[in-house]
């Protein structure tokens, strides 16, 4: 997992493993370790800071809500209680109630489910297909790369919302169908990220050394290239998930996401639109939740990614 290795401490190496010699110092780093640029760069890589942990905590909370929505002590998200209609927050409903008197907190918790499932599935699809294509393109170059990049450029140039509408119309509005549709949309972006990272890894001499050792292409891809490409790709995944949450809500806003009455954050915002003048919280509460979630995903993803970059350059 990215978090684990991203959090790697600079383990001080034992004294020089050359036996007969006395050794000095530790912190096994490149001999240029203290060159100016590294010293400066180290500053930016130091620790993750409280912001990171706050963001990660929020994401954990959202994930837990999604996972345990059915067992959490919240009301039924589909149960309209007319007396609670448009209740303000901090009344009998903690976060207020919507136009039908449904509990907002409960709907948020259940809506998290949709957001989490869709973003995870969509990003996984994009990562698997796009990532593999990108690695292959970056490794083999040549005609395959040119053809793939041309196709991807065409997909990227297509208005994504129109494409998505067509896809949803074609494969339906179930949770899986929507995840799949958004996932397909992510293939080009992932292919690009994976290809760019592969290109830089392939130039490293350890790939050449593996070939000199007689390693097969498959072995090089799996042992030398993949482990070095996967971390930046995974870190990009968090940023992508943030975008997927927004794309899903846009679909929901147009009434094309998971069908009502299943709560989704986008659907809640769409519904709140009607009550903006008298009860702005109906739209605001899901908006703020989504804002925090996307912000956290971006923040965590960004920090992890920059951490990997620092690590790469230190090596």
């Amino acid at each position: 997992m990215p978090i684990e290795s991203g959090n790697r401490r600079r383990t001080p190496a034992e004294p020089l493993p050359v036996r007969r010699k006395t050794s000095y110092g530790s912190a096994g780093r490149a001999s240029r370790a203290l060159s100016f640029s590294v010293a400066v760069r180290q500053v930016f890589g130091s620790g993750f800071g409280t912001g990171f942990w706050l963001a990660a905590g929020w994401l954990l909370l959202v994930a837990a809500c999604a996972l345990f929505a059915t067992v959490l002590p919240v009301r039924d998200p589909l149960d309209p209680v007319i007396v609670n209609r448009l209740n303000a927050p901090f009344t009998s409903n903690w976060l207020g109630a919507d136009g039908l008197g449904r509990d907002m907190l409960s709907r948020l918790v259940h809506g998290a489910r949709v957001s989490v499932v869709i973003s995870l599935t969509a990003v996984s699809i994009g990562m698997l297909i796009g990532g593999s294509l990108g690695i292959l393109a970056g490794y083999f170059r040549g005609r395959f790369e040119r053809a793939l990049m041309a196709v991807l450029d065409v997909i990227l140039a297509f208005p994504w919302l129109v494409l998505l509408l067509a896809l949803v119309a074609f494969i339906g509005q179930s949770l899986m169908a929507i995840s799949l549709a958004i996932g397909l949309l992510w293939i080009p972006a992932y292919a690009r990220v994976a290809r760019a990272n592969t290109l830089s890894v392939v130039q490293r001499e350890y790939v050449l050394a593996a070939r000199a050792m007689g390693a097969s292409t498959l072995r090089i891809l799996l042992r030398e290239v993949l482990p070095n490409v996967i971390l930046p790709v995974l870190a990009y995944g968090l940023v992508a998930m943030g975008l997927v949450v927004i794309v899903e809500s846009a679909l929901a806003f147009l009434g094309l996401s998971v069908e009502a009455p299943q709560p989704t954050w986008g659907g809640m915002i769409a519904e709140g639109k009607r009550h903006l003048a008298i009860a702005p919280h109906v739209a605001l509460v899901p908006s703020i939740t989504m804002f925090l979630t996307v912000l956290s995903l971006n923040y965590v993803g960004d920090r992890l990614r920059s951490r990997f970059e620092v690590k790469e350059s230190n090596l």
């Binding site: 036996r19 096994g28 490149a30 001999s31 690590k311």
Partner: protein, 327 residues
Amino acid sequence: MSETSNPQLRARDDIVLKVEHLVVTFDVGRELVQAVSDVSFDIARGETLGLVGESGCGKSTVGRAIMQLPPPKGGKVIFKGQDITQLEGEALRKTRTALQMIFQDPISSLNPRRRVKDIIAEGLQIWERPNQRARVEEVMEAVGLDPETAADRRPHQFSGGQCQRICIARSLALDPDVLICDEPVSALDVSVQAQILNLLEDMKARYQLTMVFVAHNLAVVKHISDRVAVMYLGKLCEIGSVDAVYQHPSHPYTQALLASIPELETSQEDAIPLLQGDIPSPMNPPSGCRFRTRCPKAQAICAQQEPAMQASPSGIGDHFVACHFPG
């Protein structure tokens, strides 16, 4: 390109590696650049051939072309009597194990995500050799790494010099015949450089290696080599034993190279004029002799006719130079 004869190739029966008329080209945009053009030399068993020249002269490309990484555009690489440019697939992969390589940047030569013992065992795993663990420990000890403490670490926990030791251990694990060293010490500090050079000499003796040592530093090359080949803009200028080339440099370029080395000894105001100007672009090399644009001895013929390899006027055996006006 006319095929020149190659008097510098020796008729000995202990020749391990012979490179004939090697040509390597690169695509640069729409143009084809000849990084190496018509280079021939041979290396006898147990010999170290130093390959020197400035950046862009094609010396590293020669090293890689021997490994078929990538295969050269033309010419032959004859290893133990077999032309390996004709090999493909499994056969090529198998032959490569007898030729190993170490690179300039020891840190970029090691996969940051793997442990030292896995890196060193890579070749053994690929070829499913027996007793891998023992072999890994043996080569680690040989290069001065403690298997106990070093085996489970990752490359970033080591200094540049240590990483170069790991690279050397990796290249030795498969028990190669030929070790190609591509600028192995130029990224290291002076004090560490000496350690690695000494180590390479030790390893050569211990594992009966034949070496190709590519470097730009003439003093380093002199220390480690038996024979030296000087390259300029993809061509071989001069080749001969270390003593012949360093004591009696016959090519004006070799003379200029030797004169420009900053030396520690008190000022040697040299008779040989310093080179003017820069190396021309390999995209568009000068006609005739490629060195003529910077050569103090250049005459009309140098622009018209490419000089062929001929015995050097030094009179020392196996000392050859490609110059119209050697000496």
